[in-house]
């Protein structure tokens, strides 16, 4: 009450200028109202859609398996089953294939990002990069399945190579094989490397290229000693996207893989089909731990907060 009296002041007319009290609407959305809570929305989102499901996954992985579901308990039998069965081999080979997909995406995709940054006029750069979104407009199932008539025994690649006389017999190793899966992963996830690489390249000022030219550094040296280190956080971020998707998206090995080809996502799926939910949760937990470890190492090496520098 006292504060109210002090905050008022006499007006020229001798009256008192009392500040208008905020309307109910202003009170609702003002700094003390909803506005204050807006900042908590991302936290709520992360808790609801990230922390809780992750915690549930870890907790369920130690539950007891029942005939059709699971019940509370504490056992590592699902983990034991994973590490003592061929699933661990499948998981590791899936990681190796995913790593290959990352390497190939880097070799093909990052130079595109560098080229766009350096050679394309600034006003057109974002439009060119946006072209890489186009494949995502088509269902992934269709995109992956469309590889079959291209890579198949009598597909476009083999027909072309035989027509020009380069081969006499179809090359069968490019489909229904680990190589087929890697090709599928690269074609599906290459744009991630282009986007992340371009974002990282935006932090590299154009004069850097000029300085390198002036100092006589060749293209290879400029790329390996200057550009890659500067863009490392972005390259790493793109690599993580590609690695995680290659590891988890079951579609690619199903359609392009060889006899019984699997990746980590498919191993989880197969555990669910067999109604072994703790095992599915345990494999998911292992995937989460793998990803976290990867992110930790990446952050220590490249400081991932730098990815956002161009935006800042």
């Amino acid at each position: 009450m006292r504060r109210d009296i002090e905050s008022t002041s006499p007006t020229a007319g001798g009256g008192w200028d009392v500040p208008a009290s905020p309307s109910p609407w202003q009170r609702l959305i003002g700094e003390d109202g909803l506005q204050k809570w807006v900042f908590y929305v991302p936290i709520a989102f992360m808790v609801l859609f990230f922390a809780i499901p992750m915690t549930a996954t870890v907790v369920w992985s130690v539950f007891e398996r029942t005939q059709f579901w699971m019940e509370p308990g504490f056992t590592f039998s699902a983990y034991e089953n994973f590490f003592t069965s061929a699933r661990v081999e499948n998981y590791l080979s899936s990681m190796i294939h995913s790593a290959w997909a990352v390497v190939i995406c880097f070799v093909l995709g990052f130079p595109v990002a560098v080229f766009v940054r350096r050679r394309v006029p600034r006003v057109a750069q974002h439009r060119v990069i946006l072209l890489f979104i186009l494949p995502f407009m088509i269902s992934e199932l269709v995109r992956v399945f469309a590889m079959r008539p291209v890579l198949g025994r009598y597909g476009l690649v083999n027909s072309f190579l035989m027509d020009i006389g380069l081969i006499n017999e179809p090359i069968t190793v490019i489909l229904f094989s680990p190589l087929g899966v890697i090709i599928g992963d690269v074609l599906s996830f290459l744009p991630f490397m282009v986007f992340a690489g371009f974002l990282a390249m935006e932090a590299v000022q154009l004069y850097v290229f000029e300085v390198c030219d002036d100092l006589g550094a060749g293209t290879v040296r400029t790329f390996s000693d200057v550009i890659v280190p500067l863009a490392a956080p972005g390259i790493f971020a793109g690599s993580v996207f590609i690695f995680v998707n290659s590891l988890g998206v079951a579609l690619v090995p199903i359609i392009l893989g060889g006899p019984g080809a699997v990746n980590a996502g498919l191993i989880v799926n197969q555990a669910i089909v067999a109604l072994d939910f703790p095992l599915a949760m345990a494999i998911s937990t292992i995937m989460i731990v793998t990803l976290m470890a990867l992110l930790y190492v990446g952050h220590r090496l490249f400081d991932l907060t730098k990815i956002l520098e161009p935006i800042n």
Partner: protein, 382 residues
């Protein structure tokens, strides 16, 4: 909703009458697309049964069905459901999510194939603890499709899958259930491995069958293991493989797709096949909502030669009632001579295949399921 309100008003809101009030509502059916015949939607089935059907698509995954019904909201959502093959009715009945049937309310029950009355594996598939819980709709004995134009002969043994001249041209189904069962039938009947029951193998038997397949996988015998209907069709239709253990509709569609370029046929294997059927069941929730009458009307259609003839002609599935051949002959406008010959031929071969003594019934829950899973993972890793 309107019908419910009106009926409730007439009945004085009595509990029993309220149940009947729902009977006018559509039958909420959870089924796969292959469980209907006639029009592309369910209108032909509705017209035959004289009921309305609210249809929800169901996948071919047994785990999904069981999970939804046992621990999910399946009973709230569906009055009736179809199954995914051997053993599901036992699992569902044991969990009290489906209810026993009064077969006297299905007039066509008199047409049901004798095997369902005689006892044994087929009769067991519709019963749990002696009571009937399901009405069979379709059945088959899964076999192998092959391109006759390239092969030049009709294979009659699973052994052809392991013939070195077809190295890299063979596909198997990417599902340990049917694949291991069919391979176990072959290995047992050809005397290569001693197996007591191919439908329910011991861990040692599972290991022996998988090791046999691992050896051939390492030799490069298999092009791939197919997953999903379209995938299976595409492999045969593009000539990517010449031999594939698969469902009969895959062969039918692949053959239609290739036209004159190939001649894809479905064989009968002398060793035997994995036999299976699909059934329709009344859920506990369906009974509580008074859906019995609609269910029985639909079940009656499933046991009519009208349905049997069409599922046989369209998808090549076995009919579950007697009198299909008579029906086909009696309806020349629907089945002209050429079509009749083709369907009767499929029916004859199917009867032979289903009568093979080496057949083993599909079992989606073998006792040693973990061994099946673990050895399948090894086969994948090999």
């Amino acid at each position: 909703m309107q019908s419910m309100t009106a009926a409730a008003a007439v009945s004085g809101f009595g509990g029993i009458s309220m149940r009947h009030a729902f009977a006018a509502d559509p039958l909420r059916l959870w089924a796969a697309g292959i469980h209907k015949v006639g029009a592309k939607d369910w209108s032909a089935m509705e017209a035959q049964a004289g009921i309305k059907i609210a249809y929800t698509t169901k996948s071919a995954r047994a785990d999904e069905s069981i999970q939804k019904m046992v621990v999910g909201d399946g009973n709230k959502l569906f009055d009736a459901m179809t199954d995914n093959g051997g053993g599901m009715e036992d699992a569902l009945a044991s969990q009290n999510v489906i209810v026993p049937l009064d077969t006297s309310r299905i007039p066509n029950w008199k047409n049901i194939l004798p095997v369902y009355r005689e006892g044994g594996s087929a009769a067991d598939t519709i019963r749990y603890e002696g009571k009937v819980y399901a009405t069979p709709m379709i059945s088959n004995a899964d076999s192998m499709a092959y391109d006759y134009k390239v092969l030049g002969f009709h294979p009659d043994s699973w052994g052809v899958l392991f013939d070195s001249q077809f190295k890299g041209y063979v596909a198997l189904q990417n599902d340990f259930g049917p694949t291991l069962t069919n391979m176990a039938i072959y290995l047992k009947q050809s005397g290569k491995i001693e197996i007591t029951n191919p439908s329910d193998m011991t861990p040692g038997e599972v290991k022996a069958v998988c090791q046999f397949l691992i050896d051939y996988k390492k030799k490069g015998q298999f092009r791939t293991f197919w997953d999903g209907f379209q995938n299976g069709v595409d492999l045969l239709a593009t000539g990517e493989v010449l031999l594939s253990s698969c469902w009969e509709p895959i062969q039918i569609v692949a053959n239609r797709k290739t036209g004159d370029k190939a001649d894809i046929r479905y064989g009968s294997m002398k060793e035997g096949h994995q036999a299976w059927n699909n059934m329709i069941m009344l859920t506990k929730g369906g009974r509580e909502r008074g859906a019995d009458e609609s269910y029985y009307k639909l079940a009656n259609v499933y046991l009519s030669p009208w349905f049997g003839a069409r599922t046989l002609a369209g998808l090549g599935f076995g009919a579950q009632m007697v009198g299909v051949d008579t029906y086909i002959k009696a309806n020349p406008e629907e089945f002209p001579p050429e079509k009749r010959k083709e369907v009767i031929d499929i029916l004859t071969r199917k009867k032979e295949r289903l009568a093979n003594k080496g057949n083993a019934w599909q079992n989606v829950f073998p006792k040693n399921l973990r061994a099946y899973q673990d050895w399948w993972a090894r086969l994948q890793a090999a």
